[in-house]
């Protein structure tokens, strides 16, 4: 191999092949995916996020929560995510069609959050977890998301409230054409 053009042409092919075979083919299959009802005439899922939750998604990204939390529930034969109570069905591509920058994540120092909204209780409990995580947890506190109220208690500020709204909006507890809930 002494020919520069030959080497570059070959390397170009090795880049172009997976680009076409994986990315363009993937785009052809997933690019037009939209919201859909589980059954004809039913409501469209995934539901649109409220405005405050969209702001909260930005806080989630700013703080780098994706470093420790995933947002994807694997099928029952591929890990114990459902047995852990993180979801009621596996995540499917349609669940993410409204998300502009999907935060699937690659590491779980903390639990998966794909269906956190379905198991979260009240805003106050989520706020308490963010301001004082359980003893033994690796999660830090987030003082910047809170401000002191007149009675001295910590209350979520604007960013804190947005993050809480976002966490509550994370739900994959509905049927979709690709993943029906068991009755």
């Amino acid at each position: 191999m002494k020919n520069l053009n030959l080497i570059l042409a070959g390397v170009f092919f090795t880049v172009a092949a997976p680009f076409g075979g994986l990315l363009l083919s993937g785009h052809a299959q997933l690019g037009s995916l939209g919201r859909a009802p589980a059954e004809e005439g039913g409501p469209l899922f995934p539901a649109k996020e409220p405005g405050l939750a969209i702001q909260g998604r930005q806080v989630y990204l700013e703080l780098g929560c994706v470093a420790c939390h995933t947002q994807q529930v694997r099928p029952a034969g591929q890990g114990s995510d459902i047995a852990q109570g993180w979801g009621v069905r596996p995540s499917v591509a349609r669940d993410y069609v409204l998300q502009s920058q999907v935060a699937l994540g690659n590491r779980r120092v903390g639990p998966d959050l794909a269906n956190y909204g379905a198991r979260a209780k009240t805003d106050a409990e989520i706020a308490a977890h963010l301001s004082a995580p359980a003893v033994g947890s690796s999660m830090p506190t987030f003082p910047s998301l809170f401000s002191k109220a007149k009675d001295g208690s910590l209350q979520p500020n604007e960013r804190g409230a947005a993050l809480i709204a976002y966490l509550k909006s994370l739900r994959q507890d509905y049927s979709s054409p690709e993943a029906k809930l068991k009755q």
Partner: protein
């Protein structure tokens, strides 16, 4: 194609050594002198970033078992520092060092005296300024959700231009080389230098500039990440191994005729392995399966590089000679790490095994084997060979060389073994439906912190030695000796 032969370049320096009492300064050849300025710039930048990365690695490791550590301000929260540390390591340390290493290798192998080396230096300057600005945004404002794409998208054009300026030289050198010989190292460098800007540009466009909603960006990201790890970092480090191993052992490569197949199969299959890192994700099954098949196919380039490298080391007391040579000690260590890393990539792309270790520290241990155990160790070894030739000075302290090797080697073994073991045990506990909170082992975080401190010690020893050499003024150009 030709093999690098022991006679084709001046011999290396051998064992770690300080300045011999009766020796003058090492001579700097004309070819080396022509690239000295940009290569020294890239190595010095890389070293500074390595120190920053090492300090950040200690802080993030401690934060995992003491989450309250340095938690007063939001900009030092774990999520931000973790992203910054990763970007500093990959774009600051590894990429700077490999650009410099590639420049030197191409000049050296092509017997090519560079003109206008300032263009490459300018590229390096833009690269480092863009990285600094991008890190400041991550620290103070926001970041993207994808590993190694966390920096704001405005950094991408600057990175792209900088890389073209710095890596334009490899193509120039290759096209204008006065010799008709072509070495294996040159294929790998050309391939790596072509892949990075193209893949980076396409990824930026598809993920950050013209993004599509949904999981497609995650697929694009996995494609980028595998290309970055295997075909930029991995291929550039392999180029160095193909140069230093036969040269420093003074022998020819075993199974040299297989190198063409090894090169093309690595480039052909590595780019398809991205989806193997997304098994169980919401992506279509056929895409995930493609990644698994491609990962298994990496067995071909792995077999060939093993024949080439371990076959060569097994001849004529190669292992023992490698152990007694500073450069080869690091390179041989790196080769073992490379083989283990690719073997783990192949074995743990099997769905049943991947299901156990996915999302645990096992994956980061596997990645660390490749990016630190192989790439960084080879770069260290190369630096011990190259810097004396560029500066015309000896390494100031042999003790610091030993401290560097042993600190980094022990830290790597401890860190990787801990990540693999604790990752596997956590995955097995989760598979047995143990509650998540009960599966985390606090010893894992403690071990990780200890290893991070050990890495910092090793890197500090390397930096003291290297900056001592880079700032020395004993450069002597050997006009009479042609490289």
């Amino acid at each position: 194609m030709s093999q690098e032969t022991p006679q084709s370049r001046p011999q290396g320096q051998g064992r770690p050594q300080g300045r011999p009492a009766d020796a003058g300064s090492p001579r700097v050849s004309r070819v080396d002198a022509s690239v000295a300025s940009p290569v020294k710039f890239f190595f010095a930048s890389a070293l500074l970033w390595l120190l920053v990365s090492s300090v950040l690695a200690v802080i993030t490791a401690v934060k995992l078992h003491l989450p309250g550590f340095l938690n007063g301000c939001e900009f030092v929260t774990f999520g931000r520092l973790d992203a910054i540390q990763r970007n500093v390591f990959f774009y600051g340390w590894a990429s700077n060092a490999l650009i410099g290493l590639n420049l030197w290798l191409l000049a050296s192998l092509g017997r090519f005296e560079f003109r206008n080396g300032w263009i490459a230096t300018l590229g390096g300057l833009i690269w480092n300024l863009a990285l600094t600005a991008g890190l400041a945004v991550v620290l103070l404002d926001s970041q993207n959700a994808f590993e190694l794409l966390e920096l704001p998208r405005g950094v991408a054009p600057a990175f792209f231009v900088a890389f073209l300026l710095a890596a334009l030289w490899p193509a120039v050198a290759f096209a204008r080389r006065p010799t008709s010989q072509v070495f294996v190292s040159q294929w790998y460098i050309l391939g790596a230098s072509f892949v990075l800007p193209v893949v980076y540009l396409l990824t930026q466009l598809m993920v950050l500039w013209c993004p599509t909603n949904g999981v497609l960006p995650a697929l694009v990201h996995s494609w980028f990440l595998q290309n970055f790890l295997f075909l930029w970092l991995g291929a550039s480090a392999l180029a160095a191994v193909y140069y230093f191993l036969p040269k420093e052992l003074g022998t020819t490569l075993t199974g040299y005729y297989l190198t063409t197949v090894g090169f093309w199969t690595l480039f052909l299959f590595a780019g398809w392995t991205g989806p193997a890192t997304l098994l169980g994700s919401p992506l279509p099954l056929w895409i995930q399966s493609t990644g698994v098949v491609a990962s298994v196919m990496l067995l071909i380039p792995l077999t060939i590089t093993s024949i080439n490298f371990f076959g060569t080391l097994a001849r004529d007391s190669g292992w023992s000679r490698a152990w007694n040579n500073t450069t080869l000690r690091f390179v041989a260590f790196g080769l073992v790490a490379y083989t283990l890393a690719i073997a783990l990539q192949i074995v743990f792309s099997a769905r049943s095994l991947n299901a156990v270790v996915r999302f645990t520290s096992f994956i980061s241990g596997q990645q660390q084997l490749l990016t630190y155990g192989f790439v960084s160790m080879v770069v260290f070894g190369a630096a011990y060979f190259i810097l004396p030739r560029l500066t015309g000075a000896f390494w100031p302290s042999a003790k610091l060389v030993h401290l560097h090797f042993w600190s980094c080697a022990l830290a790597l073994v401890g860190s990787v073994a801990g990540s693999l073991y604790f990752g596997w045990t956590q995955g097995a506990a989760l598979a047995a439906a143990k509650p998540f909170a009960a599966t985390a082992n606090p010893q894992a975080a403690l071990l990780s912190s200890a290893c991070a401190v050990l890495f910092l010690i090793g890197h500090a020893a390397f930096a003291v030695n290297a900056f001592g050499m880079l700032t020395s003024c004993s450069s002597t150009t050997d006009e009479g000796r042609h490289a």
